[in-house]
Symmetry: C4
Subunit: 231 residues, 4 copies
Amino acid sequence: MLEQLKEEVLQANKLLQSSGLVKLTWGNVSGIDRERGLVVIKASGVSYEKMGLDDLVVLDLQGNIIEGELNPSSDSATHLHLYREFTSLGGICHTHSLFATTLCQNGRELPCSGTTHADHFCGTVPLARALNESEVQGDYELNTGKVIVETFVEKGLNPMEVPAVLLHYHAPFTWGESPMESFKNSVALESCAEMAVRSLQATELPLIPAHILEKHYQRKHGKDAYYGQKK
Amino acid sequence: MLEQLKEEVLQANKLLQSSGLVKLTWGNVSGIDRERGLVVIKASGVSYEKMGLDDLVVLDLQGNIIEGELNPSSDSATHLHLYREFTSLGGICHTHSLFATTLCQNGRELPCSGTTHADHFCGTVPLARALNESEVQGDYELNTGKVIVETFVEKGLNPMEVPAVLLHYHAPFTWGESPMESFKNSVALESCAEMAVRSLQATELPLIPAHILEKHYQRKHGKDAYYGQKK
Amino acid sequence: MLEQLKEEVLQANKLLQSSGLVKLTWGNVSGIDRERGLVVIKASGVSYEKMGLDDLVVLDLQGNIIEGELNPSSDSATHLHLYREFTSLGGICHTHSLFATTLCQNGRELPCSGTTHADHFCGTVPLARALNESEVQGDYELNTGKVIVETFVEKGLNPMEVPAVLLHYHAPFTWGESPMESFKNSVALESCAEMAVRSLQATELPLIPAHILEKHYQRKHGKDAYYGQKK
Amino acid sequence: MLEQLKEEVLQANKLLQSSGLVKLTWGNVSGIDRERGLVVIKASGVSYEKMGLDDLVVLDLQGNIIEGELNPSSDSATHLHLYREFTSLGGICHTHSLFATTLCQNGRELPCSGTTHADHFCGTVPLARALNESEVQGDYELNTGKVIVETFVEKGLNPMEVPAVLLHYHAPFTWGESPMESFKNSVALESCAEMAVRSLQATELPLIPAHILEKHYQRKHGKDAYYGQKK
């Protein structure tokens, strides 16, 4: 069941480590089959080197285990809430990549300072507020998902135009049309965060002019996008 | 004798290099068989690439060589003192990983700024004071162990809840239930130190709220921990 | 057709990734056969691992596709304009290497602070101004090339003596006598940018004395150059 | 002739690249046979991947080529002057490693801030002054060697106790009893420089207490050294 999706989720999870985005087991990628309403996600605490198809777990959108012997990622409730609320998402990626997480720990959002950012994110990547004490003591991972959705609703952001969030005191989540796209957005977020952290040494972060932001985003993602091959 | 422990100590020592935590021969991992009271440790000055089981030395807790042709790590007296005083330890790891060592050289402890830290260390990783002149001229490595124990006693810290220390002017030690856990705590310490050093460029380090610290530590280590697989 | 040039362009593109200068597909190298007036460039959005000779596109200097099934790099119009205006160029390299791009995002040129720089660039690597709104909405990539040429003309720079430029809000371009030389200049630019960004933490960038700059550049590139092997 | 020395010089040159200390061809290691008064050094501009024994050149101490088809490193005159004046040296290593070179470009010496430094260098690694205009226009590489020797004489330093120097506006040289020791000192210098550059972000560099410096240096290098294996 879901063989192709599982293969892509497996490959994206392995790329987390080989790309340097995660150490130990600090990250996970999931993907969804929208027709069947089933999510494939990494099992909890499994190392990336040894991971095989058997280390993936299939969940329905309510979190019931449909297939798999292992516990799903402890962050599963966050993934599921995002799939329920952001219905265009095909894949979600969570890492503790060090520069993006540094921004999280310092409570900073990531404004757009250049075209590397504009190629992936149509404006500022928002910071989601810290969970309060009762939210943490309740269903922590579900409430993490709720705070992400709250952030996008309050700021009027389209999650497919800004496919990333920084969680205060925690780490980033990114997403996309597919598991592999969610991974690529994690690479882009970490690169932009790295440039931001280095720039912060001297000054406030500079802001890209709006017309360059718009152009770079649209040439990759707009209706007349001309980057890449015809699909 | 102690074949399984030796294999794990060997593997953890080799990971020191492949993970980038050490250069040249600047680190060592040991493990203990508590039933027999025997410690397996890397020989001194041996390169990680060429290291085999014959490059490990077996010591009793008083430092007598029980097995092995080579000199044990010059830091052995520190390891042995920690095993004697912190009786829950199963493995100890010492590195000069560059970000943690930068904190050591600057005389800074590492407060908890995010969940990456809280997943491994239940609060601030302490700084152990510099040894004074007579402590250095005496049994230097033994006195290093004594200053670590003094730090934990004075601060009322449980070494299994905060399995790491930063030595002023020197470098970190980490530990855990096993040699491999002590290595993983070195990876976590270095990642958190990297984020701290980068954050220090602008401001004092931010502090994670206590309820998030508690939650992250407990979901991995508490009595109802739900991270990872059932044991 | 152009087999040797294609092989060198392919190899230089693959080096972009293995050297760490680019992530995902954020860069491209091209080369020109000046006799035939034909340019070989990477196809758009193709991954470096899987890239083969079939993933290269041959263009004439007006941008007509002479050979190849895929869309050429979306930056092709920039490359072609540089080949038309800077007639000594044999290869061009574009990356989003993170330290050089950090300078771009902060709107800084790169002065010469040491001999690593002087070995490759005979003085300051200039910053090209941001494109204005109509330039961005028009033929964006062609206008990018025009702003680079404008920068060199206004500053009276010889593009073979300073084979690099930093584009404000965007990223660097480098070039050279061949595709491989353009790649090497990207490595040198990124290294010098890395040292500059790290130095900027404390102070303004220091400036190398003119006589050392001159000596280092000339011993590699002057008429009595004595670095390397006789050609 | 000199087969064993050539093998070690070759291996140390290859380690320059695999250890990340150099990019492109920005470094060289040499070694000397003191009985015969002959120096083995890397040829100029040769890439490390392809380097074989034929890419090494044998020179006498006056710089005459005794064996080898290629031009020796353009820095040979510096190496030879150091071998003539510092008669305990068995190997010399020159790199443009980025953190040490950042200190050079900023005109900073490297004080001892911790035991990683004290394990290799018995105190501050000095900064050699920039060459003046006539020194640069004269025999530049020979004069570079003379300024290094001048630095050690003026400061009363023993080159075997402080086996490294930082050249203002240029890059480091390290040395040791053998080519491989000179390489290891380059690794140590770069690591200490990395910690120094990161520390400089906030404050002046802290200084290690003298008794710790002395202890660490002596336990590896003193007459009763006990680090490593018996020789």
